[in-house]
């Protein structure tokens, strides 16, 4: 040990030798060493434990906060439609519906778009274009949701109200989905578009990374069989990355479900279920944010926690599924890349 420490200096470099009061005891300081080791290890373990405790506390606190509402409103809360705190009416159905519809519309638009962008960034674009466009697309994910929501409120919603919604209503109006628009342009559809802007860069970036890991020899094998670029994509790249893309979509969906602020700004805060996408509504997250802005009284606060518990359960399922797929995917691609 003592001889070792001496010869270690070059390996550690002068920076290590000159550092701090501990350096003094370096040559023979076994006691300090043992103490330092134990201290570092317990600090690290404590920090890790803290992360576990935080997650546990979040779950506990959400459930605990919801317990009063749960005992008073029961499971019927999930199917009860009306949310009128002033009259003591609490039902989550509108927000569950809103969450599901907004998420579905978001994913229907975002996933194909994101995969397409991922393919562009991994196969179609040349190296230089890639290195510029890639970060720009990811930049989209860095825009704060409150700014995106503000933009949606002031710029996007009036545009949709004036152009997109009348057009969709007149061409696809026979479907109840595309009903008559609100005068503001706020509603489920606008919220879906704003969430699409938030989800696309996430899914596109992960998809691109997945596509880039598809082994080159597999692609060469396909090219050598006289396949066109698209056939290589369809036959080799997409199938090899498929499960990973599904996991990426789950992560994106998790983001869409949990976004409170931007949704709150553009969804219009409706309290009833209706078929039209152009009507106002609410999601679990946006309702939590909306009611939190006021000063909720006891049962209302507990009902808000109840909404939070439903949201947390959805997120948990999605994240666990995405993690499970990702881990299996890692194993799979390890086999394929052998």
């Amino acid at each position: 040990m003592s001889g070792g420490s001496g010869s270690l200096s070059p390996a550690l470099g002068p920076a290590a030798a000159a550092r701090g009061p501990w350096s003094a005891g370096r040559a023979r300081g076994t006691k300090t060493d043992r103490f330092g080791d134990a201290l570092l290890k317990s600090l690290c373990a404590a920090a890790s434990l803290l992360a576990v405790v935080i997650l546990g506390a979040i779950f506990y606190q959400v459930l605990d906060g919801a317990s009063a509402a749960f005992s008073q409103l029961g499971i019927g809360f999930l199917v009860h439609e009306v949310w009128q705190p002033n009259f003591g009416h609490f039902g989550a159905a509108t927000f569950i519906y809103g969450t599901v519809v907004v998420s579905l519309v978001t994913m229907v638009i975002a996933v194909p778009l994101a995969i397409s962008i991922g393919l562009y960034l991994s196969t179609t674009a040349s190296g230089r274009v890639r290195s510029v466009v890639g970060p720009l697309v990811e930049m989209l994910a860095a825009i704060p949701s409150v700014i995106l929501g503000f933009w949606g409120l002031i710029v996007l919603a009036p545009f949709l109200q004036a152009h997109a919604e009348p057009f969709l209503h007149s061409t696809l109006g026979f479907l109840p989905l595309f009903g008559k628009g609100e005068t503001t342009g706020l509603g489920l559809f606008t919220a879906s578009l704003i969430l699409t802007i938030m989800v696309v860069p996430i899914v596109a970036a992960i998809s691109r990374d997945l596509f880039l890991t598809v082994p080159k020899d597999l692609q060469d094998g396909a090219i050598a069989l006289g396949a066109t670029r698209w056939e290589v994509v369809r036959g080799v790249i997409l199938p090899s990355a498929a499960s990973g893309v599904v996991a990426a979509a789950f992560l994106g969906l998790g983001r869409a479900l949990g976004e409170a602020i931007a949704t709150l700004q553009v969804i219009g805060g409706g309290n009833f279920i209706h078929a039209s996408l152009f009507g106002t509504g609410g999601t679990l997250a946006s309702r939590i944010a909306e009611d939190a802005l006021g000063t909720p009284y006891a049962l209302q606060l507990s009902a808000v926690f109840y909404l939070g518990a439903i949201l947390l359960a959805m997120e948990l399922v999605l994240n666990l599924a995405a993690q499970a797929i990702m881990r299996r995917f890692d194993a799979f691609s390890a086999v394929a890349a052998r």
Binding site: I223, A224, G226, F332
Partner: protein, 351 residues
Amino acid sequence: MNPNVTPPSQSAFGAVEAEFDALTSGVAALSANAETATPPETASADATQTQPHPSGGAKPRIRIGSAPVHASAMQSAESATVDALSGAGRAGAAPARESIFDVREMSVSYGTNTAISGVTMQIQRNMITALIGPSGCGKSTFLRSLNRMNDSVKGFSISGQVLYHGHDVYAGSVDPVEVRRRIGMVFQRPNPFPKSIYDNIAWAPRNLRMKDDLDRRVEYALRGAALWDEVKDRLHASALGLSGGQQQRLCIARAIAIEPDVLLLDEPASALDPIATLSIEQLMQTLKHRYTIVIVTHNMQQAARIADRTAFFSLEATSRAGVLVEYDDTDVIFTRPRDPRTSDYVTGRFG
């Protein structure tokens, strides 16, 4: 077993150095193996079929290690005659050698780095042409340039001409996909798709809309690659479950399923064990009746065993670019090379 292959004797190459002798007799023994390594029940049939051939003094089946009389006959003969004879013997139906590829002054560089320079050679139909040489001498580059597999490599540029059936492969109007559809390729490492065995084969025919009788096509491709009997009961199992040698034969089957004209093989056996290697080599002997085969190999014995023609590539000392040193019938390359560099390489003095 085969009457054409007589055991070589040391004295056959009396004038040559001892180490050369040792090497070539080894080659000869291996060559004899390849010739005769046929299933036992067919060996006698093989023998009877080959018996009608030795009619003249200059026998068509000239191999390394064949009786010295053959070698001397070869030496005295005009090379064109030899070509014709050898072509008749090896390709059966084709009476004379017909060039499929006519490569003229091909130079390839990646960025500023010249990989091969000024290669001119013809590749003949229904023959196995081996490309040998030390690593980094550009033989794989040459091979991949024949079917435009290098197009997507960064900085790739090519000069000279690659004429395939007289058409310039790199002409502006040519669709590289069409080129690769006619000129198939099998790679160093087996690269089956992570799909079923059946879908590995059926994938390219489906792309090409050759969907009629797909089951039969898959079966023939697998038979053609000598894999059918091993996989016929598990066609819908994953191809990744096959052994390395089976995977490589699957890749060959996959390539022949779309009836290419030429098969390019880039060190197809380098990742395989000796038994799998042998089965691939046997397979190539069968396949050349229908396809023109060009194979890159780092294994000289393999070239000697299977190739009709051999091209020796090497690095030019000053420019560090790959050049074609010598290209001739395989036995000439291995027994009487004209260029001292070839002789150094095949005798193991270099490389």
